[in-house]
Amino acid sequence: MPDSTAKRKTLLFVDDEQAFLASIQEIFSRMAHGNWDIHTAQNHAQALALLDKQQVDVVVLDIGMPGMDGIQFLQLLGRTHPGQQVAMLTGRMTEENRKESQESGALLFLEKPITPDGFASVFAALDALAGAQPQTGFRGMMRRVGLHEVLQVECLGRKSSVLEIFTGKVRGRIFISDGAIVHAESGTLGGEMALYGLLALRGGEFNLLPYAEPPHRTIEGQWESLLMEAARLSDEGQQAQEPEAIAPPRIEPGEESVAADIESSVCETYIQEIVLCSGTGEVLYEWQSKSLEQQLYLLEQLEQHAAQVGALAPVGRFDRLEILAQDERIVCQVLPDRRVWVRSVRAKEDLA
């Protein structure tokens, strides 16, 4: 009899073995006491068709399937259904499969059960995962956007976060605290060396995680200077796929940096809108933009007005406009290679 107080959970098992799916359906239905809706699919096409029709708490994938194996399907789901919780259930418990599954976004890597205890153990894990509260925040894809842009958005918004980066061979983390890059690590490297190595990667995946204090704070200085130095290293052709291949950074004494700014007190910042464009105004990324066309128009106008002011008075090169309205703050940056619009709500007013 179903437990009326328990949240009903929906699971989709994908496996090419019909007999195994039948066993799963029978055994887990009994264990769930009617609180699980169990769906099955024998291939990825059936699974995708079901996912398009229905929300599923957890997709459970076998790895060894013909045509498209479970890991490939997991990677496909990461693109077609970002945020979907996926667990792997396989008889191929190799370290390679575990690593690849986890790097592709699987939350559990479980062995196919053959004993009653094994089924109970797998059931408990899947039941807990299906009942877990979804992680707050967004998970999605940012195409044609580099780590520089991601870091810039985080720093401009004075956010605190951990940017986790991974490729097939490299895994690293960049720690951002109140808009400042305070630590980076990659393999055995730490500090600026690791940061420049990670920023030199040509491609990969990243996760933006809630901030956790790093073991050590190894990086000081303004984020703009750090990103400029990383760009300079890249320009000099010293970038490589592995951080170990990056030459030690050369810090020029007295090198000018354009500082971030609005003097601030410590306070919470909630990003409301983000627009990132190329220097020519092509939209590379936008998030929650309410009036994209108007924002693009304003950025274009701002560039013109700033150039005119620069021609009238000895003010130098324009960097950005900071706007403090009653309950929000907007930063509009216009540089030759990019235009940025970030609107945030702050707990305190602090424009100086």
Binding site: H305, V309, F318, L351
Partner: protein, 132 residues
């Protein structure tokens, strides 16, 4: 009543690091003070046209800015908007990380003025008083 604005500016200026200040009243009258040889009133007032155009564009987007800050390499231009429609612009040297509390007081005091009167036409300029 640009005299009142002149008195207001003279009560706060000059300030360290501030090269020029200008108030535009709702009738477009300007009261300008320049303290650096690189700035003159005509430049500053023309620049104000461009800065205010950006503020107008923001309003058209539904953003009601209270304060704006243009950050350039060598200079920051602060703009405080008064509810009467006038505004105060200050051209200050760009010193990242530094907090200029006296400039902050000037901007906040301007915003807090109960009214900006609009009697006198033309522009009044005094320059250069001091150089920073």
């Amino acid at each position: 009543m640009s005299e009142a604005i002149e008195a207001f500016l003279d009560g706060h200026l000059p300030l360290p690091g501030v090269a020029a200040c200008s108030v535009r009243l709702p009738d477009r009258t300007c009261v300008t003070r320049c303290y650096d040889a690189g700035f003159n009133s005509a430049q500053v007032e023309q620049a104000l046209d461009r800065l205010s155009a950006t503020a107008d564009s923001l309003r058209q987007q539904g953003v009601q800015p209270g304060r704006l800050c243009w950050v350039f390499d060598r200079c920051r231009v602060y703009l405080a908007l008064h509810r009467d429609g006038g505004f105060l612009a200050c051209f200050a040297e760009n010193r990242p990380g530094a907090t200029n509390t006296t400039l902050e007081n000037l901007l906040e005091s301007f915003i807090a003025l109960p009214t900006l009167a609009t009697a006198t036409a033309g522009s009044t300029t005094r320059q250069p008083k001091t150089r920073h």
